[in-house]
């Protein structure tokens, strides 16, 4: 069947901001879908509020709405664009929920919009727990015993029947948010209550526990002719009880006999039929009792997912691309398998390697959060690795995590006198955490037996045995040193041991191990990911490296003879380094491929567009370590003209490799590594600024507490302290006194060693922060965009909202900022991108506004995609041409700023995932993603950004204030504005007294420690619609924590800065005068 001709335009709904459970895998799938539909001749309309996505590049869809991904906005877009069809399966749970909402309110029917890729019925059957269970029963498949409950009492009645432990799963939440395993009645009540609050339909499923069973996933595709294939099976190494997003997983399933596997296959296909998934990809999850093989169905997702992205990268089979074609009428046999180019997509990929995915966590960002892994997802990213055996892929994945691991690095275990405290260690093993995988190896080192560890963890003995083998080889290495026989060394390398790991175990440095290894001729072989285990020749250059035994050649790379550039990606997503950097890497590939240069991508993050084999000319799915990267480049250098390596786009990860590249005589393109060092090294940078006569907050660097105190006394408290060479404000703090400073420095030296100095800066209270992205060819500088932060200095730039262009700064300040940026770029010798952060002080009667440089980073920044979308200048693309193709800025088609619109970027936070963690913002970055609001006024753009970030600003209702003394004066106009809008005002006793003195009507409410009824009660009773809370000092922060958490749970907006609150006033003012309208990016850019 050819493609459908009865539809002409298709609305694709994106997933919105990056949040836990919904990351850049939906940019990967959405971009593929947009490309395919466009190629098929459809008019593609896209909505996605996330500017850091490739899919929102204006070339991808015909009409791009960077507007909130919420039903109201999508309805407006439908009214305006009148699409024939809506594709809801590429944008995660967000898009499915929007489709449901627009179906229920009649929008789809009224405007004649057909859902393609999934029907409302199918979505309901899959998502509604009770209907899902019934459907499974109707086809003879078992599900864990369960029942739904809409109240706590109903839930308690269910658990009385099923017994504890029990699993609680809220309906219609992302990544299992709010779910968990209850072992005690108290735990049960607390999880159920939380789950009911989080569920948009106030419903939870209470389920028989299958904790400890084996967990499997099947990635299935079905077409409208009822052809169905399994693209990939995935086995969770962490058994049931840990969300699959938080589990270490392997592909394909390893511990099943064919008869068991075929039962899962048959069941999966039967499930797609019964649920009614007529076209597209779905993910089906099963649990199997390891004792008797009993199979139960856990859930299914009738859409592409994180697992389907993983399956696509693991096999080379592009699920989203194929699913998009199926949605418009093709059948599987009508679609070619891109990888072979000769066989159809109607087959099941087979692989001849093992793929391991390890999740990446950032618990260190959320002190107070419980690090236990449960059925609610907590990881922020993942690394995938490919090896010719499980050990190789697992060790490669561990060193891909960007945690400084070389493999199974040693970890502390509970001690009891001289020996290991075995009961305590077994207890720790029994509790899944982000570090448990390392503890498994450590337990073997401490002499625990495999059966003991299996009993504690329920992890399949086969996986444990492979880890035990790794530990045995480690012991052998430690005992006998580095082998001098090439076969013996290759055997060790074949199990995935990094040179760095071997160096650690044999007490040498990594360079010595690498040199010895090369002298023995032990080099990796690069193998193709070909979907068919070698049965057919593959035309897609998608590779992985392996040190497998018995290999005599370098493998199958066959490097090309063109000019070539290597682009280093950013590794796993984590807070501080996410999709923005992948966006830049993708642009580098597209830009340079576009001018005939061969682009070679290296990355290990399966969620990304950069690891789509369609993005670059050649793709290596490998860890971003010196060893792995240098080996690839050496292989690629064998032919053609190697221009160099781009390290400034992938965030901190590739920058860290610059030294290894230089040591291997590998040229770095663009800003030279020394200039990067000049900007990063505080002393050198201060010297430069002094020479250029550019102002910088008073500062110093130290390596011990004594120096720190001396510097702080010179500068005056409060001071900002941080380690050098960090991204995302890792471990950055504002300290107010000597004791906290000394404590900070001690902790930092303990954690990071004393090699890198600690930086101390004067803290500019209430200053406005400004971010500038610029592009330079070494002689000419283009200012990409000047962004004014909404939150004042002291809040990490990644967590702050910002506006482009600045909405409150005078022109002469902006001009000064631009001029300083230009001077800096030229003096640093920047070739490519640079980001500079400024602080602009407030004008006071005795001092005018002053501009300070906080830092300069000669690399792509987090804001590059935001600036590119807002201005229409694709900065990363342009920078790539400058760096890799020798273009001058003057040759580039830089568009002048077109007045008339303003864009606001707002951060999105994962606090809901981390019960117990505070929601206050500070210098340490905590956001997982961002949204953009774009409109004709700052107020509307800010309001849209809030809506996009999931914050519903009230235009009427009750406002609660609790502000610190220093801010009270600033809040008077805020209160006056809200009083004028007819809001009821509540405040803590102090705040209320102050506001009353200024003639405002405000009712006092008790703080929590003052006793009930207090502010938390008020929030819980639904009496508060918005909260403004500024605070300082450990005690006050602790006292007000429960208030902020309660606001979070209740889903009411809570603003914790003066500037943020002032922006809210403007936004609500705008919203009260006219409702928010939608407009496409293309209409703004002209």
């Amino acid at each position: 069947m050819p493609r459908r001709r009865d539809i002409e335009s298709i609305l694709v709904v994106g997933a919105g901001p990056i949040v836990i459970g919904q990351a850049c895998e939906f940019d990967y799938s959405g971009s593929q879908a947009c490309k395919v539909l466009r190629d098929e001749g459809y008019r593609v309309i896209l909505v996605n509020s996330n500017p850091a996505t490739i899919m929102t590049d204006p070339e991808l869809a015909h009409v791009t709405y960077v507007e909130p991904t919420v039903p109201d906005t999508v309805r407006q877009i439908i009214v305006r664009e009148r699409p024939d069809a809506l594709l809801p399966t590429m944008g995660g749970q967000t898009a499915l929920n929007i489709a449901l909402a627009l179906s229920e309110d009649g929008t789809l029917e009224r405007y004649g919009v057909e859902l393609i890729g999934a029907s409302i019925d199918a979505i309901h059957r899959a998502e509604d727990r009770e209907r899902f269970r019934e459907t499974m029963g109707s086809i003879g498949l078992a599900t864990p015993e369960s029942a739904t409950a809409g109240t706590l009492a109903e839930a308690e009645a269910v658990v009385a029947r099923l017994g504890l432990p029990a699993v609680v799963r809220p309906s219609f939440t992302l990544g299992g948010a709010g779910g968990g395993i209850a072992r005690t009645p108290e735990e049960f009540r607390s999880i159920v209550q939380g789950g009911l609050d989080l569920s948009p339909v106030t419903q939870v499923l209470v389920e028989e526990s299958v904790i400890g069973w084996k967990e499997f996933e099947m990635e299935v595709i079905r077409d409208r002719a009822d052809n169905a294939i399994i693209v990939c099976s995935i086995e969770n190494v962490d058994p049931m009880g840990v969300h699959t997003g938080d589990s270490i997983t392997v592909a394909p399933a390893l511990t099943l006999t064919d008869k068991e596997y075929q039962s899962l296959r048959d069941a999966s296909i039967a499930i797609l039929r019964a649920i009614g998934v007529e076209t597209g990809g779905s993910n089906v999850q099963f649990a199997i009792n390891p004792a008797d093989g009993r199979i139960v169905v856990i859930e299914m997702n009738p859409r592409v997912s994180r697992s389907s992205a993983l399956a696509s990268k693991a096999t080379g089979f592009p699920i989203a691309k194929v699913a998009a074609r199926l949605a418009v009428g093709y059948t599987l046999d009508e679609i070619m398998n891109d990888v072979t180019g000769t066989t159809p997509a109607s087959f099941e990929p087979v692989i001849d390697y093992i793929v391991t995915k390890v999740p990446r966590f950032t618990f260190e960002k959320f002190p107070g959060a419980d690090p236990a892994l449960t059925t609610s997802m907590k990881s922020v990213g993942e690394a995938m690795a490919i090896g010719r055996n499980f050990a190789e892929s697992l060790q490669k994945a561990l060193r891909s995590l960007e945690l400084g691991l070389t493999g199974f690095d040693a970890v502390d275990v509970p001690r009891d006198g001289d020996g290991v405290d075995r009961p305590a260690l077994l207890d720790r093993l029994a509790q899944p955490t982000s570090r448990r995988v390392l503890l498994l190896a450590q337990a073997f080192r401490e002499g625990l037996s495999l059966p003991e560890i299996h009993a504690a963890t329920s992890i399949d003995p086969w996986f444990l045995a492979r880890i035990e083998e790794i530990v045995l080889v480690e012991a052998e290495l430690a005992a006998h040193g580095l082998p001098t026989d090439p076969d013996a060394l290759r055997r060790i390398k074949s199990l995935g041991f990094a040179d760095a790991r071997i160096a650690l175990l044999t007490n040498r440095d990594e360079a010595a191990v690498a040199a010895a290894r090369r002298a023995l001729g032990v080099r990796p072989a690069f193998r193709r990911v070909d979907t068919c285990a070698g049965e057919f020749a593959a035309s897609t250059p998608y590779f992985y490296g392996s040190y497998e035994e018995g290999v005599s050649d370098g493998g199958e790379t066959a490097p090309g003879d063109r000019r070539k550039v290597v682009i280093l990606g950013g590794g796993p997503n984590r807070i501080g380094q996410g999709i923005e950097f992948d966006y830049c890497c993708v642009h580098a590939a597209l830009a340079l491929s576009g001018v005939g240069i061969e682009t070679i991508m290296i990355n290990c993050n399966p969620e990304t567009v950069s690891t789509d084999y369609d993005t670059s000319d050649r793709l290596y799915f490998e860890p971003l370590t010196g060893e792995d990267v240098v080996e690839i480049i050496e292989a690629e250098r064998g032919a053609g003209e190697f221009v160099g390596c781009i390290v400034q786009f992938g965030g901190q990860t590739p920058l860290r490799l610059a030294q290894a590249l230089v040591a291997a005589d590998i040229p770095v393109i663009g800003t030279p590594p020394d200039a990067i060092d000049l900007a990063e090294d505080r002393d050198r940078f201060s010297g430069l600024l002094a020479r250029l006569d550019i102002r910088q907050p008073e500062n110093g660097s130290c390596r011990n507490p004594d120096d720190a105190v001396r510097i702080a006394e010179r500068i005056g408290y409060p001071v900002m302290v941080r380690p050098s060479y960090v991204l995302g404000g890792s471990a950055m703090e504002v300290v107010h006194d000597e004791a906290s400073l000394v404590d900070y420095v001690r902790r930092a030296v303990h954690r990071h060693g004393s090699d890198d100095p600690i930086l101390i800066d004067a803290f500019l209270s209430s200053a406005i922060e400004v971010d500038v992205d610029a592009l330079s060819d070494g002689t000419t500088v283009v200012i990409g965009g000047v962004m004014e932060h909404v939150e004042e200095a002291g809040i990490h730039s990644g967590d702050s909202a910002c506006s482009l262009p600045p909405h409150s700064l005078p022109d002469e300040i902006i001009d000064a900022i631009k001029e300083q940026t230009e001077t800096l770029a030229l003096s640093l010798g920047v070739v490519g991108l640079m980001n500079v952060q400024f602080a602009v002080t407030r004008a006071t009667p005795d001092r005018p506004r002053e501009v300070y440089v906080l830092e300069a980073n000669p690399r792509a920044s987090r804001t590059v995609p935001f600036v590119s979308k807002t201005t229409g200048n694709p900065l990363a693309h342009m920078a790539s041409l400058v760096m890799g193709a020798g273009r001058k800025v003057a040759d580039l088609d830089v568009r002048p700023w077109r007045n008339g619109h303003i864009a606001v970027k707002e951060a999105v936070f994962p606090f809901r995932r981390f019960p117990g963690a505070d929601t206050l913002l500070g210098p340490e970055m905590k956001s997982t993603g961002e949204v953009m609001g774009i409109d004709r006024s700052f107020a509307n753009a800010f309001a849209k950004a809030q809506v996009g970030a999931g914050t519903v600003l009230p235009t009427t209702g009750t406002l609660f204030l609790s502000v610190r003394d220093a801010d009270k004066e600033d809040f008077v106009p805020v209160c006056k504005a809200f009083a004028r809008y007819g809001f009821r005002l509540l405040g803590t006793t102090g705040t209320a007294r102050f506001m009353r003195a200024h003639g405002l009507e405000i009712e006092p409410v008790k703080k929590v420690y003052e006793g009930s009824p207090h502010v938390v009660d008020a929030i819980r009773n639904g009496e508060v619609d918005m909260l403004f809370n500024t605070t300082e000092g450990a005690q006050s922060i602790a006292d007000s924590l429960s208030m902020r958490r309660e606001a979070l749970n209740a889903g009411i907006p809570c603003f914790t800065t003066v500037a943020g609150s002032l922006a809210v006033v403007e936004a609500i003012e705008g919203m009260r005068s006219a409702s928010l309208d939608v407009a496409s990016l293309q209409s703004y850019l002209g």
């Binding site: 394909p252 399933a253 008869k259 010719r388 020749a537 005599s552």
Partner: protein, 391 residues
């Protein structure tokens, strides 16, 4: 770091196994299973599960199987997953060393099973390079050998490999067929190990055994048919004297043209009897010969569990399990024969039928085991032809 209680299982034993190809190429690795040597055609199989079923499939007689999937042996071996009483494969090649098993169904580790099954195993070689070599040059003759002392007379082994005549022209069905007729009553593995008792009114059929896989017989039993399995050379008269309601021609190894010499006259008589007839793999190829078609050796064959086949009548695609190195030639297909199924990988013939008659065959393995069960409908169709007289 000491390891109390842990057996020393550091991978990497001495080189105790070898594969030598006819052109003198040598792969050295570690030997498993039976010690000694075996000569045969070196082919590869891409299935990611079901190694025990693969190795016990009689169609692998005369062959040394290279498993492209790197970890073989994880789930051990058991008594249920046999496809024949005695495995016919001569050798098996693995990327990684077989490990102690981990599965509730396992009864024996792979290494021990290989020893009992008389299969020479080899691990630790570059199976990907070997596979690509077969893809490029076709399946070569080779000798696989396992000696605990690791001492091999390579020159002699090369000579043996080079002297092996190859599968073309070789009748192997006669080596794996049963010696005496028997009746099969066991049904499918149901997940809990139960086997259904055949229905009392089970319909008798005859299955001609060229190397039949047990799962075919189990599927027939599940559909209320009771197969009597007879040797490949059983005369047509003897078969018809059993008064069967249908005839099944089984899968099997070797060159169909060689087996056809004695099988075709029998099959022609059976077709003439007018009763429903169904052939799988070699049975399908022999049926083609009987209908006047021809077979030829393929370059590398189809061996795996992911092969797409188009059902030309419905336009539907089924994912199939396959294992064949010979194929029915399209250019000499008689008018009376209709091509019913086609490979979507290379366009080769995957199924035929005699026009207007309930006589058909498929090249692939609808009985799966290992592999997808998409094609089980063919057994339903065969049953309807027998019981309801449908075409």
């Amino acid at each position: 770091m000491t390891q109390p209680g842990s057996p020393p299982r550091v991978p990497g034993r001495a080189e105790s196994g070898i594969l030598v190809l006819a052109d003198g190429t040598v792969f050295r690795g570690r030997g498993w299973g039976k010690t000694g040597r075996a000569v045969g055609e070196v082919c590869f199989n891409t299935s990611m599960s079901g190694y025990q079923e693969v190795m016990t499939d009689p169609s692998y007689a005369g062959q040394i199987i290279t498993f492209t999937f790197p970890h073989i042996g994880i789930v051990g071996c058991n008594a249920t997953d046999h496809e024949a009483v005695l495995p016919a494969a001569r050798g098996a090649i693995f990327r990684a060393d077989p490990t102690p098993p981990s599965n509730w169904r396992s009864e024996q580790p792979l290494d021990a099973w290989l020893r009992l099954a008389g299969i020479v195993g080899l691990s630790g070689i570059d199976t990907r390079a070997l596979t690509l070599r077969i893809r490029a040059g076709g399946a070569p003759a080779g000798v696989i050998a396992h000696q605990p002392d690791g001492v091999f007379d390579v020159e002699r082994l090369v000579g043996q490999a080079a002297a092996w005549p190859g599968l073309a022209g070789m009748d192997l069905a006669s080596e794996v067929t049963c010696r005496e007729p028997y009746t099969w009553t066991e049904g499918l593995w149901s997940g809990l190990g139960r086997t259904p008792v055949p229905a009392a009114d089970a319909v008798p059929i005859v299955a001609v055994d060229y190397g039949v896989k047990h799962n075919i017989l189990r599927l027939l039993v599940d559909r209320g048919l009771t197969p009597t399995v007879v040797p490949a050379t059983e005369p047509a008269e003897a078969i018809l004297a059993r008064c069967p309601a249908g005839i099944f021609l089984s899968n099997g190894p070797g060159d169909p043209a060689a087996t056809a010499e004695y099988a075709v006259p029998i099959i022609r008589r059976l077709i003439d009897s007018g009763m429903p007839l169904f052939g799988i793999c070699l049975g399908h190829q022999l049926l083609a010969h009987a209908l006047g078609a021809r077979t030829e050796k393929m370059h590398q064959g189809h061996r795996g569990a992911n092969q797409p086949v188009l059902d030309r009548a419905t336009g539907k695609v089924e994912i199939t399990s396959q294992n064949h190195g010979f194929v029915v030639c399209r250019d000499e297909l008689p008018e009376t024969v209709e091509e019913t199924h086609t490979s979507l990988f290379d366009g080769s013939i995957e199924g035929i039928r005699l026009r207007g008659r309930p006589v058909s065959g498929v090249q692939y393995h609808p009985e799966a085991s290992p592999g997808p069960r998409d094609s089980a409908y063919l057994f339903d169709r065969f049953r309807s032809q027998i019981v309801e007289g449908t075409a």
